[in-house]
């Protein structure tokens, strides 16, 4: 029998980004014993890449703001596909969670009155994003990290979980390995919180890091949970397009929030042409009004001017840029121009310091002197593991999920800034939910089935066996092929033919994944790690493609060229993906119905 380390915790949190850390802190605060597993070093999770800010209706800058407006904005941004209860909890609790971060030592930029400064962002009616220049995610993760290390929970760094273990229906543990030296580890746990982030590494051009390999989605799927609305994949409108090595790296929406202008190769400011009729009234009528809005924002003054068209929702802006490029009006490297250089250089460096350095160091572009070239990049998945809004529990008892790997909160399209608030609001609820679940279990002992451990070990040892064979495949080659399939057939614009082709190709690729092999030792062997990650990415990719094929309409981030209209009937159902034996099962399940008092918020808005 192979050797493995054993640890025991009441709650095991998998993933140490914003949601995972917040969950671990909360569960600890509830008095249960907590372990936190992270695939990287602590504090390196992808949350550090979040730039623009955290959305919370504090009303420090625009005093008309409150949670109801935030709720309505979120539901509108999500094209009604959001789980209403999650959107409500999120809008209500975000302000308190942000204040809590401040009490834990986060240092947000200030207003002249000495309060937390807030900036404008796409889809948010009011200036709502609390920020620290353009490195808000770093501030958040460092605050949670420094808070967490004094809470007494164990942190397992550079450790990846490959299998969730159950006793009957209930979660009873997890199995994994340390990346550092390949030794195996068994966690006995009464509850598990998944907070593993997204699926970006399945795409060629993405803002996501290597860690984003759909681990949580795949683990939950295997354990019997269902994944909802996986067709909704957000392409951030502004990623770097040049040089090739940095293609896809995020350019914060904060650039547009601070007044950045999008133009095409004909120097035309094109965004106004792409505003949907339904939202046109929220935006400025001409460049002069946009200019007044920006000037007021810089001076910190109130204005009756409406916001510039560049601040439309991400799905719109991404489609607009894609269309401009496709119709031949793109920039030299296949993007469009984003310009903030008309503003005072010192202010740009102060408000967008990391963008300034990112372009200066990596692309030799001085953003205070000239425009950036930007294009869409795969950024976020709105869909994910289905959870109960108030507890974040999945349909598997003892299994919880929070953050990007969970689904429902953002509907068909996520607003910028809503992900950081999502992490702290639902991270906390998941930690709370898991702790309460554990307390409810009492002293019931949960068993771990040895056969399951043996199977998990066998699965992890296999790539080395395969690596000895002549027809072994290089895992990196397979990933490249997966990226191509997803980007070509399951990209920004979709149609039945492409999706069907994509699904067929994914099916073939699955056979290749079985032949992925590696050589060398288990000591920090990235090729070996990739073999395991591929399995996860395949599950998520198939889920995305099948879900996309099943949704015969265009809604939010899901754009079908063969079904260009929105079908109101389809808002009543979630697309649900679950495991049925060895097959993937797709169902349309009824979406929770919003109570009347919340519906009224939307009616009121229209009479205004």
């Amino acid at each position: 029998m192979a050797n493995y380390e054993v640890h025991e915790h009441d709650v095991l949190v998998i993933g140490a980004g914003g949601a995972g850390l917040r969950a671990a802190i909360e569960a600890s605060a509830q008095g249960v014993n907590v372990g936190l597993v992270c695939k990287s070093l602590l504090g390196k999770a992808h949350t550090v890449m979040a730039e623009g800010g955290v959305a919370a209706a504090l009303a420090n800058v625009d005093e008309q703001d409150d949670w109801k407006v935030h709720f309505v904005d979120t539901m509108n941004g999500g094209k009604g596909m959001n789980n209403w209860r999650m959107a409500q909890l999120h809008a209500q609790e975000a302000p308190e969670r942000v204040r809590e971060l401040e009490r834990w030592g986060a240092v947000f930029d200030r207003t002249k009155e000495g309060k937390i400064l807030q900036r404008a962002f796409g889809g948010h009616k009011y200036k709502r994003l609390c920020h620290v220049g353009d490195r808000t995610g770093l501030e958040m993760i460092r605050t949670l990290q420094d808070q967490g290390i004094h809470r007494g929970f164990n942190v397992y760094m550079e450790c990846a979980v490959t299998k969730l273990l159950k006793d009957g229906d209930r979660i009873s543990g997890a199995f994994g390995y340390y990346r550092e030296d390949g030794r195996y580890v068994l966690f006995k746990a009464k509850a598990i919180v998944l907070a593993t982030g997204g699926v970006g590494k399945a795409f060629t051009v993405t803002s996501n890091s290597w860690e984003y390999t759909a681990d949580g989605q795949a683990l939950a799927y295997d354990a019997g949970a269902d994944l909802i609305d996986m067709e909704f994949v957000q392409f951030h409108p502004t990623g770097m397009v040049w040089p090739p090595g940095v293609r896809g790296i995020l350019v914060t929406e904060g650039v547009r929030g601070e007044g950045g202008i999008l133009t095409n190769s004909e120097k035309k400011r094109f965004m106004r042409d792409y505003l949907p009729e339904s939202t046109k009234s929220e935006f400025s009528v001409d460049d002069e009004e946009s200019k007044r809005w920006v000037e007021a924002a810089i001076a910190g003054q109130k204005t009756d001017a409406k916001r510039p068209p560049e601040l439309s929702t991400r799905d719109n802006v991404a489609r607009a840029i894609y269309t401009e490029v496709k119709e031949g009006r793109g920039s030299p490297h296949g993007g469009v121009f984003l310009d903030i250089s008309y503003q005072d250089a010192a202010r740009v460096r102060k408000k967008l310091p990391s963008m300034y350095h990112q372009f200066k160091d990596l692309a030799d572009v001085d953003i205070t002197a000239g425009p950036m070239e930007v294009g869409p990049t795969m950024h976020y998945i709105m869909g994910g593991i289905r959870v109960e809004a108030d507890t974040q529990q999945t349909r598997v008892p003892g299994l919880f999920a929070a953050g990007e790997c969970s689904g429902g909160m953002h509907g068909a399209n996520r607003l910028g800034g809503n992900s950081l608030s999502d992490l702290i609001v639902f991270g906390r609820l998941a930690g709370l939910g898991a702790a309460e679940y554990v307390k409810g279990l009492g002293n019931n002992a949960l068993a771990i089935n040895n056969d399951h451990i043996e199977a998990a070990i066998k699965e992890m040892d296999e790539p080395f066996e395969i690596g000895k064979q002549a027809d072994a495949k290089n895992p990196y080659d397979i990933q490249k092929e997966l990226n191509q399939i997803m980007s070509t057939y399951v990209g920004i614009f979709r149609n039945e033919e492409d999706l069907t082709t994509g699904i067929a190709k994914l099916k073939n690729l699955k056979e290749q994944v079985k032949k992925a092999g590696v050589k060398g030792s288990k000591v920090f062997n990235p090729g070996w790690h990739m073999c395991r990650d591929l399995t996860n990415m395949m599950i998520a990719s198939e889920a995305i493609a099948h879900s996309a094929l099943s949704r015969k309409e265009s809604r939010g981030a899901h754009s079908r060229l063969d079904f260009t209209e929105l079908d109101p009937e389809l808002a009543k159902f979630n697309t649900s993906i679950s495991k049925d034996g060895d097959a993937m099962k797709l169902e349309k399940t009824a979406k929770p119905v919003m109570p009347e008092e919340l519906k009224e918020l939307f009616a009121k808005k229209e009479t205004k």
Binding site: R135, R142, I149, E180, N474, Y476
Partner: protein, 244 residues
């Protein structure tokens, strides 16, 4: 296509070889791209830590031509064409494999620092000028390049006596926070060993976030330590004025 020649350290636990690889150069390429090229085309088992590839997470710390640097920020076009580029793991921490080292010591040190301690009845109104210094320190991405280059840790191996520049910065960020009420000066002097620093400024030179570690964090902390422990006249005068 032009080619770069990379000499990469390969091996486990301090023993190994420098292997030479030829990598085709693309425009705008960084050393991390070259390492990834080797991983994909020559040897998938080449170990390197990385995450964001945009100098925001501080994972890909290594030494390029002997200089501590983030691999994702080291542009290939900065080197002379045809010049060999040596890539080594960082020196100060125990070697694991290839370019990866065990930096867990840093996480242990961090736990020893008294956390942010606001007063229970604190008034949370404070202004931009109150936090500019702290915000500079909080830009730190924990790449630990400053820890690597600091000769106290690197050459003298005095991890027993000195927390290193990273944690001087962290302690400064807490000490200068307008609402923090804890006093860490004794700990800065005795546990963190600020006196071990001889302000030779290499930490500042290698910081990828351009934090003025020495001038803005360590020296002001040294001055505060002087207030408390080395300036009896000043302390006496202050006690008289405070006593009034």
């Amino acid at each position: 296509m032009p080619e770069a020649i990379l000499k990469v350290f390969r091996g486990e636990k301090d023993s190994g070889t420098f292997e030479t690889y030829k990598v085709p150069i693309e425009e705008g390429m960084v050393v991390l791209d070259a390492i990834h090229y080797i991983q994909q085309n020559n040897d998938p088992s080449l170990a390197v830590r990385w995450n964001c590839k945009a100098a925001k997470c501080g994972s890909c710390s290594a030494e390029v031509n002997g200089r501590p640097a983030l691999l994702c920020k080291s542009r290939m076009d900065k080197f002379e064409p045809g010049q060999e580029i040596t890539v080594q793991p960082i020196k100060t921490f125990p070697h694991l494999k290839d370019l990866v080292t065990d930096v867990s010591w840093n996480y242990e040190v961090n736990k020893k620092i008294t956390p942010f301690t606001p007063a229970p009845d604190a008034n949370w109104t404070f202004y931009q000028e109150d936090i500019e210094r702290v915000q500079e320190f909080r830009k730190c991405i924990e790449c630990f390049l400053c820890q690597d280059v600091c000769h106290v840790l690197r050459d003298h191996n005095r991890k027993d006596a000195f927390y290193g520049p990273r944690f001087m910065v962290r302690m400064a960020s807490l000490e200068m926070h307008p609402l923090d009420t804890a006093n860490r000066l004794k700990s800065i002097k005795e546990d963190a060993g600020i006196g071990m620093c001889n302000i030779t400024k290499c930490c500042t030179e290698v910081c990828p976030e351009d934090i003025h570690i020495t001038d803005n964090a360590i020296i002001p902390m040294k001055e505060r330590v002087v207030d408390e422990f080395y300036d009896p006249i000043g302390k006496f005068l202050k006690s008289i004025f405070a006593g009034k």
